[in-house]
C-alpha cells in the first residue's frame, strides 16, 4: 500500500515536471521571474550560508586538531581534513540540506498558498501554464545560483578555519595553510558543484510539487511545507550516497 502511494506520488511528480519543462509562453515574463527567483531563493540565502559555513569551518578545524592530531600525524593534517570535509560533504550536501529547510519551506508555502487562494486557478483560467510559469523559474534560478553558494560556503569555511588559527591560536596558521594546499585535487571542486546541481533541482522541484498539489486550507499548506522539507532532505541524503559513489 505504501509502495503504491509512493509510486502514485512519483508519477504525479513526473507529470508535473512534464508540464513544468515546457516552453515558456512569454520569454520576457520567464526572464523576469527567473531573475526574481535567483534573488529571492539564492541571493537571500547567501547570509545564512556564509554564517553557517564560517562556524562549521572553525569547529571542524578545532575538532580535527583536538581529536586527530597526535605526534604520529603530520601537523598539516587538521587543515587538510578541514578542506576535504568542507569541499566534499559540507558545502555541497549538508549546506543543501540546510537550504532544503529554508528554501524548500519557502517554495512549498508560497505555491501552496497560491493554490488555496485560487491564484493558480486564476492563472489556468487565463490560459497560462501555471506549472511552467511558477515552478520553472524557481528550478532554473536555484540551479543557477547553487554553484556560487557552494563556492562561497567552501571559501567561508576556510576563513572560519583561519579564524581558529589567528584568533583562537588553536593551530599555527602556516600548518593550516600547508594542510589546505596539500594534495589538492581540483576535481573535488567540480564534484561538489555537480552534486549541488542535482540537489538544487531536488530542493526546488520537490517542494514545488508539494505546494502545487496541496488541497484544503492553511493547515494543509503547513503540512505540505513540512512534508516538502522532510521528503527533499531524505532524497538529498539518498542521492548523495549514489552521487558520491558515482563521481568518486
Amino acid at each position: 500500500m505504501l509502495i503504491h502511494k509512493w509510486l502514485t506520488t512519483f508519477g504525479r511528480y513526473l507529470m508535473l515536471m512534464g508540464r513544468t519543462f515546457s516552453r515558456p509562453e512569454r520569454l520576457r515574463m520567464f526572464l523576469k521571474q527567473y531573475v526574481k527567483e535567483m534573488a529571492q531563493l539564492g541571493v537571500n540565502s547567501i547570509g545564512i550560508v556564509l554564517l553557517i559555513s564560517f562556524f562549521i569551518g572553525a569547529v571542524i578545524c578545532i575538532q580535527m586538531k583536538l581529536n586527530i592530531q597526535s605526534p604520529w600525524m603530520p601537523r598539516w593534517v587538521s587543515g587538510y581534513t578541514t578542506r576535504e570535509i568542507m569541499l566534499l560533504e559540507f558545502s555541497s550536501s549538508i549546506m543543501c540540506l540546510i537550504l532544503a529547510g529554508k528554501v524548500g519551506s519557502n517554495i512549498a508555502s508560497e505555491i501552496g498558498t497560491m493554490r488555496v487562494t485560487q491564484q493558480i486557478d486564476a492563472l489556468e483560467i487565463m490560459g497560462v501554464n501555471s506549472a511552467s510559469y511558477l515552478i520553472l523559474p524557481k528550478i532554473a534560478g536555484m540551479v543557477t545560483i547553487m554553484p556560487f553558494l557552494v563556492i562561497f560556503s567552501s571559501a567561508m569555511g576556510i576563513v572560519g578555519a583561519y579564524g581558529t588559527a589567528y584568533v583562537g591560536h588553536v593551530l599555527a596558521p602556516d600548518d593550516l595553510t600547508l594542510g589546505l594546499q596539500h594534495d589538492f585535487k581540483s576535481w573535488f571542486v567540480w564534484m561538489s558543484i555537480i552534486k549541488s546541481l542535482f540537489f538544487a533541482f531536488i530542493i526546488s522541484s520537490v517542494p514545488a510539487y508539494f505546494g502545487y498539489t496541496v488541497e484544503g486550507g492553511s493547515v494543509n499548506v503547513g503540512k505540505a511545507s513540512t512534508d516538502a522539507v522532510v521528503t527533499s532532505s531524505a532524497i538529498i541524503l539518498c542521492s548523495d550516497v549514489f552521487l558520491t559513489q558515482l563521481l568518486s
Binding site: E25, M29, T117, A122, I125, M126
Partner: protein, 266 residues
C-alpha cells in the same frame, strides 16, 4: 452565447450535477443561484474547464468546449475572464501589475500601451490612486474591483464571477453588481454570476437559473420570482420572515416592486 446540454458531473459515487440544460445569453447578466453545496461552483468550474464533465456538452458560440484538445482549451480560455470569490489577486504584484498581467502574457502591445490599457480598466472600475498598492493593502471591495479590471483587460467574450459579493457589505455589493451589469452591456459579454445574494438576484438578474441538489429546478427572470409557485425556489429566495411577509403583501395587495431606477421588478 453558452449552451449547456445534458451536463452531468460526479465525484466518485456522488452525483453533483444531474442533467443540466440551459443557455446563457450574450449581453445579459446570467445568474446561477442555489443553496451552498447545491452544485453552483461545480457547474461554473465545468464551464471554465477546471473540471471535466462526466457527461454532456458545453457549447461556446457553437464550439464544443468539452471535446477540445488541451491546447485548444487553453487558447479558448484566453477569451474568458473570471472573478473568484476571494478575488485571487497575485499577492506579489501591485494592483497595476495584476491588471497588466494578462496583457503582459498574451498581448503584443508595447509597455506604454499595456500600462495605458491597465489604467483604462482601473478607471472603468472607478479605482484610482491604488496602482502601486499590493492586494493586502486594499479593502475587499477594492480587491474585487481590481479582479474585475484584470478580467476585462483582454476584452473577454465570456465573464465568470464566483460569488463576487462574498464578504462585502450590502452597499459595496450593489456597486459591484452595477459594475458587472454595466460592463456586460458595454462589452456585450456573456456574463455568468454565481450568487446567493438576493440583492443581486432582484437587481441584475436578467436570466436566472436555480440549482437545487444538482438539478436545474427553475429558470426565469427576476420579475418572475415574486409570483413563482415553485416551492423550492420561494423557500430559498424568501428564507427570512421579513421577505416572506413582504412577498405575501405584494401578492395579496397587487403591489409592484420597483428598483432604484423606477423599473418594475414585480
Amino acid at each position: 452565447m453558452i449552451e449547456v446540454k445534458h451536463l452531468y458531473k460526479s465525484f466518485e459515487d456522488k452525483d453533483v450535477l444531474i442533467d443540466i440544460n440551459t443557455v446563457f445569453e450574450d449581453g445579459k447578466t446570467n445568474l446561477i443561484i442555489g443553496q451552498s453545496g447545491s452544485g453552483k461552483t461545480v457547474l461554473m468550474k465545468n464551464l471554465v474547464g477546471l473540471f471535466d464533465p462526466t457527461k454532456g456538452e458545453i457549447l461556446y458560440d457553437g464550439r464544443d468546449f468539452v471535446g477540445l484538445s488541451k491546447h485548444d482549451k487553453v487558447m479558448m480560455r484566453r477569451e474568458m475572464g473570471m472573478i473568484f470569490q476571494s478575488a485571487a489577486l497575485f499577492d506579489s504584484l501591485t494592483v497595476l501589475e495584476n491588471v497588466m498581467f494578462p496583457l503582459d502574457m498574451f498581448s503584443t502591445m508595447t509597455l506604454r500601451e499595456r500600462t495605458r490599457r491597465a489604467q483604462e480598466c482601473l478607471d472603468r472600475v472607478n479605482l484610482k490612486g491604488a496602482d502601486e498598492k499590493f492586494p493586502g493593502e486594499i479593502s475587499g471591495g477594492m480587491q474585487k474591483r481590481v479582479a474585475i479590471a484584470r478580467a476585462i483587460a483582454l476584452n473577454p467574450k465570456y465573464l465568470f464571477c464566483d460569488e463576487p459579493n462574498s464578504g462585502l457589505d450590502p452597499k459595496t455589493s450593489l456597486v459591484i453588481d452595477e459594475l458587472l451589469h454595466s460592463i456586460t452591456q458595454e462589452y456585450n459579454m456573456t456574463t455568468i454570476i454565481n450568487t446567493h445574494d438576493m440583492n443581486s438576484v432582484m437587481g441584475i438578474g436578467e436570466n436566472i437559473i436555480f440549482i437545487y441538489e444538482g438539478r436545474k429546478e427553475w429558470q426565469g427572470v427576476s420579475s418572475q420570482i415574486m409570483g413563482s409557485d415553485n416551492q423550492k425556489l420561494t423557500d430559498f429566495i424568501f428564507a427570512s420572515d421579513l421577505l416572506k411577509n413582504m412577498r405575501r403583501m405584494v401578492i395579496e395587495n397587487g403591489l409592484h416592486v420597483m428598483n432604484e431606477n423606477k423599473n418594475r421588478i414585480q
